[in-house]
Subunit: 230 residues, 8 copies
């Protein structure tokens, strides 16, 4: 354990195929500076999630410059420019524009691990034609991440139409009974479409890691490639 009081699981990529991310919510400026500095010094890449704009702006400019920061998804990447990104058969769908921040956490986490996914926005079932017009394109995807809040009906429609692995990513978008994301979560778990998989509410990082696990499973040899990226 170094001076920031955090014991990184540096062995994780070798063991699981992807890196530990730093969950920045609630961390102090001192801890963040130490973690960024350490990554810079060791010339290793590192991913920060849930890094709020206030936290980012309070960093010294040296540390801000070292970060590729995206305010929408609240993610920051150190030494991301060395990562070689290739297209993978993964699509990330949103039901509405309010689901974009969570969807973008998926995309950024995948990119950090060298994978570029397709992004398909605002295809909620209140305007069903928006999804139906893209079904042929989506049938070619191995993994479909579906970010949806409110009642999350998009998950069931996607799961009923497409053969890929469906990862439901419920979001905390909504009010009244859907506030906090429980309704979208339960809707995905109880989906009438068979074989839908679910992650925690707003857990874009987890959905991306799950997609990486599936891609590894799908390409036994690529797995070694993936681990050797940087």
């Amino acid at each position: 354990m170094i001076e920031h009081g955090i014991q990184l699981d540096k062995d994780r990529r070798a063991r699981l195929g992807f890196d530990e991310a730093i969950y920045a919510a609630g961390k102090s400026g001192e801890q963040l500076e130490a973690l960024i500095g350490e990554a810079v010094e060791s010339a290793s890449s590192r991913l920060f999630t849930r890094l709020g704009p206030q936290q980012f702006e309070a960093l010294p400019s040296l540390h801000q410059d070292a970060l590729d920061y995206d305010v929408l998804s609240r993610t920051g990447i150190v030494n991301g420019s060395c990562i070689v990104v290739k297209d993978v058969p993964v699509a990330v769908l949103t039901a509405g524009s309010s689901d974009l921040p969570v969807a973008r956490e998926v995309l950024r986490t995948l990119e950090y691990h060298g994978c570029r996914a397709m992004s398909v926005n605002d295809v909620g079932v209140a305007g069903l034609w928006r999804l139906l017009s893209r079904v042929d394109e989506l049938r070619r995807m191995s993994v479909l991440v579906v970010a949806a809040g409110m009642e999350g009906a998009l998950v069931s429609v996607v799961g009923g139409l497409l053969p890929g692995a469906v990862i439901a990513l419920p979001t905390s978008v909504g009010y009244g009974v859907s506030a906090g994301g429980r309704t979208a979560l339960h809707g995905a778990l109880a989906s009438c479409a068979p074989g839908v998989l679910v992650v925690n509410i707003d857990n874009g990082y987890g959905a991306a890691c799950a997609a990486l696990r599936i891609l590894q499973a799908a390409r036994p040899s690529a797995d070694q490639v993936l681990r050797g990226t940087h």
Copy 2:
């Protein structure tokens, strides 16, 4: 209050346009016999809901004969043969065959009040083509009652496609997080389709009464007709 200990709201049809039904769950054999007998003697029609097969079979044969009993919906009707039934622009949809008992309570309650609705079964979104093939027909309906358990995604798809008044009728079909119907209920309340209306879980009688209120609203003159049926 008569000897069965129940004070009927006999003025209800004049005031609201439909009758009080007898909620039979938990009532004793004595109470049921008295209520059936009273209806027979006064030659007035009466609707019983949640009348279980055990309750029905425990009745004297005289009382059984006086009842038009439907075991699937657990409804019984006294003097139903005098009711003149006409087609109304109401459709009752089910997501799966397990939702049939609740849907049938809607149909039977409507028939008791002289209204014959269209029935459309097993059109859940896991096989979306089953619904899409009937959209044109359903666009002509003034009221769409959608009985669905599990996650109830059918409600949102119907609400997004069709202009009629949508009454979501969540059912207690499911297990795990959808056991008891809460997930279907919350999904309907949080639907991304605008203007969806919701009744309590398994409340087929209530959905039918709501449809009757809307039909009355729609046909100010028919309203008097409806009240005068028997």
Copy 3:
């Protein structure tokens, strides 16, 4: 999808009979400006809901001027002056003065669609005479929207007295067990008055859309008129 990242369902009025509203909560200033600007340029009317005063005041004055903004209901309307508004047989009731903001979202959404409803405030059952004195007037209404928080007993009293379609609109008014509106919601769903219909907590926009669906159902020919308003 245009530069604000939102894909409007412009076909909705033709399909369902009413417009998609812009749910402004959580949208950035840039998104709001683009959406207002687009509506102004295309000379089309547009409704914004949940537009907070801070969001409104942060807009450029040009955009503020383009909006008919109502702070109580947090709604804004672009090009609303062209809308021809007619009286419809809809009443919007509140149990207490704290329910006014939600009730006003109903009224504003109806007005945006050319419908002027009757407003009846502060008729909660703790002072029952306030409602009873207006029963005759309310019997003539086709739709009764009842906005109530706390325990929402007004819904049951209205549903027991009046034959119109009752839309319960639970509000998040209250504290302790009624904080957030769940008690009012459950009370409406479990109402002893038959045929009560319910929308999500604080969902004034949804209650108005439901009323529009019912009015369309009621007046098959008016439906075409309604769709052709602007």
Copy 4:
């Protein structure tokens, strides 16, 4: 502690003004026999609550004869015939006939303590005239116990109309969101009528004890009388 393994709080009447009742649910036949026998031998009165018909019928006929048993309320009283019962200004109201068993537990507990209350059944707000016709009579009551399930709106209407102490007694009558009585309970706690008091779901015994505490408070001298009844 005697051989039935139960340590009675025999001092309770002296301390609080009423007796400990035996909560029979879950007790074995041996325990019940011992407790009945002990009361008979000591010639003291005793109240049993939640004594199911199976439990009663499994008792030896000697013990059955010693009990004044009421199957509706599942209460049994030993040596009840010695109790002198007087009218007290307490009314017990039910919203529907399904609330009768719980209401009857109130009445029987009061009678066991020498108090005869007024019983007013089936006055739920779906048929509001049933309550309004009795308001004058009820204004003379010091305590109003209101047994109601479903949404329990009767509690608020009573609390808004009448000056007596209102004890809401939520019942587990209902299904869907009102199954188990939580909706009625929360509705009573959140009532817009000021000063409503609440007991646990189906707790008729507790409502009666609360009424006895209030009667004692009201009649400081009667208190001694009450304690000296037998």
Copy 5:
């Protein structure tokens, strides 16, 4: 309804024996000024609850001076100096010092209605001797209001020791499972002490109104006196 948009239930004291209070939470400065001004002009007393310090300080000094404001309980009284206050057999207990604000809302509401209660602080059961030393004094009380958060065990101990009417007033004091007051509320409802009565979490005003109802019930003649105070 006057210009502040609120329809007071001015008949309440005649009907129920106490006044409607103004629930100030969420009310605008304009509404509060109008309501205070109206009370001053008509020389009638008025009680405001949940009036936050920011709301109070934002009032014009004229209106501030007209209010007897208590920041701990967030209550304000207009024309309170004319109220004649007499001792009543009511005690208000707190389990801990964090329960004082809610307890004080009880005391202030009672004083507004001419009743001075006894106040007993910090007698939670973790230091049981603090309560036991005062039992004799408390046995003389007709009503015991017990304000307690966390697990609320004080309610059961008081209910087991004392014969008066016990009003449990759960408070939102606590964290983890007791955050928001649900654990204290449920504990009071499930109390093993018989005949405990419960009001909503933090509802000091309601507990006071309930005490007034009981005092009225107890002293039929004093009732008239109470109503005629001002």
Copy 6:
């Protein structure tokens, strides 16, 4: 729709890569007989889930003989003997022996689709050595289905040790706070191990379908093979 009132989604295997199973819970004997008979006559394979022993034993012997029935998992297969089963890199783990029925539903569903998985029982973390001794073997698996009730800690340990796709299958094993499976479900969703995927409580069929989706994703060519099995 045929006479059993059920509209099968026969196109599902072509669209998604696996068959619709018949959820037998709640179906009548008539419906089951018709569905079995239809499968026998058309010489097509069919899977029944949640088929209880009473339901099975009530079938005519002809229909019993047509079913390969497994009482532990409550599954039945028609024409299963024609299915060619091959080993796939999927392991199904249980935390305790009470999780076996749900795990077996996974294994049977996979076998029905031609896939034989590895089964690893009773490796819960209370005896951690049982899992650690098998880690090398499990690292070769593409998919790890983890059936666990109570607190489900096995999910996190597996997810932290192994690179395959982890499908958490919470079971309803437990009592008190874990009764019904909510604690195991929430534990899996909140797992500190990254990229864990979750299905509904006791949903063995869904976990198997998800594994099939992943296997299809992993072997694009095998996908065609899989669909052509029978």
Copy 7:
């Protein structure tokens, strides 16, 4: 794993200081017979918990005879007669007689491990004198297990009076808000008495194991003795 499909953690006593018990709920007769037979043959002691009377009575008489069965606690012990039992400073208290079965599971589990605890029944706070009269005796205890349902106030009173380690054991005794034991559980967790420890609802076995852990911690040398009992 032997033929009953269960992999016992036989190393547990060496590792933790106590044995794995067989949780019999849901186990088949075959499994139970095999597990009893195995224990008899290997002459080792074994504890069965949640072994219902129906399960016991369905066993062959040979197996029944091998079990020391206690119907109240639903526990069975094989080869218990060889266990040497000594008094330990542990007391097991119940609030009411309905808590006896759970308390007895604690006592039997302790006895199985060679420890005899003191039993103190029916000392709930509704009759506080029953506990106060025994405080001196209880102050000498190192561990106090408090079995209580309903609101569980006894836990706080014991925790405030006595210095020993307090293990709250909430029971599922109660109805309405206390049904299932959640209120007692939350009350114990939120107790105002400092340092109270809690186990799952009805988990008598767990409370006993916790007491054994504490006794081991307390007597480092006794620990070896304890492990060597049989």
Copy 8:
């Protein structure tokens, strides 16, 4: 009760073996000043918990100087320098660095009572080797406090590996289903590891008091020493 309105339970150390701490959350500056001043004047030590940095910084410098304040755990100690601290066989573990504040409240409370525990950070099961490498060291501990949020799987792993008394301390670390700490709490209560004990979410003070109770139980003579510290 002195002028700060708080009645300290000064007898607590004599009765229970440890002091009452001042729960500072929600206390005013005046109350805090009085309580600190009183401790300084009487030269007695005192512990403040949940004392936020804003509260600390708002104190006069005289009072700030009298406090040994730790911002991470939000604890303050008056006259702490006189406390003699000795090593005790207690370890405090955290699953992740976000659990440090709560763990530190445990350590500080123990130190205040003269006990120095071992601290073991960041040993969550996602990187299981971090815990396994320290098992031998931890086997020597009498008490293991495990602070863990999210799903809290560390509790079960520790409970399965180590014989000491395990005190699970769930933290409110997490989001979605684990927000607020309920999932970690329920996971600990339902742990498959036998004899795990649990305290309320984030209750570091309570976990420390429980450890002190166990240490007292373990060392009967040390108990007197402990009480005589200052």
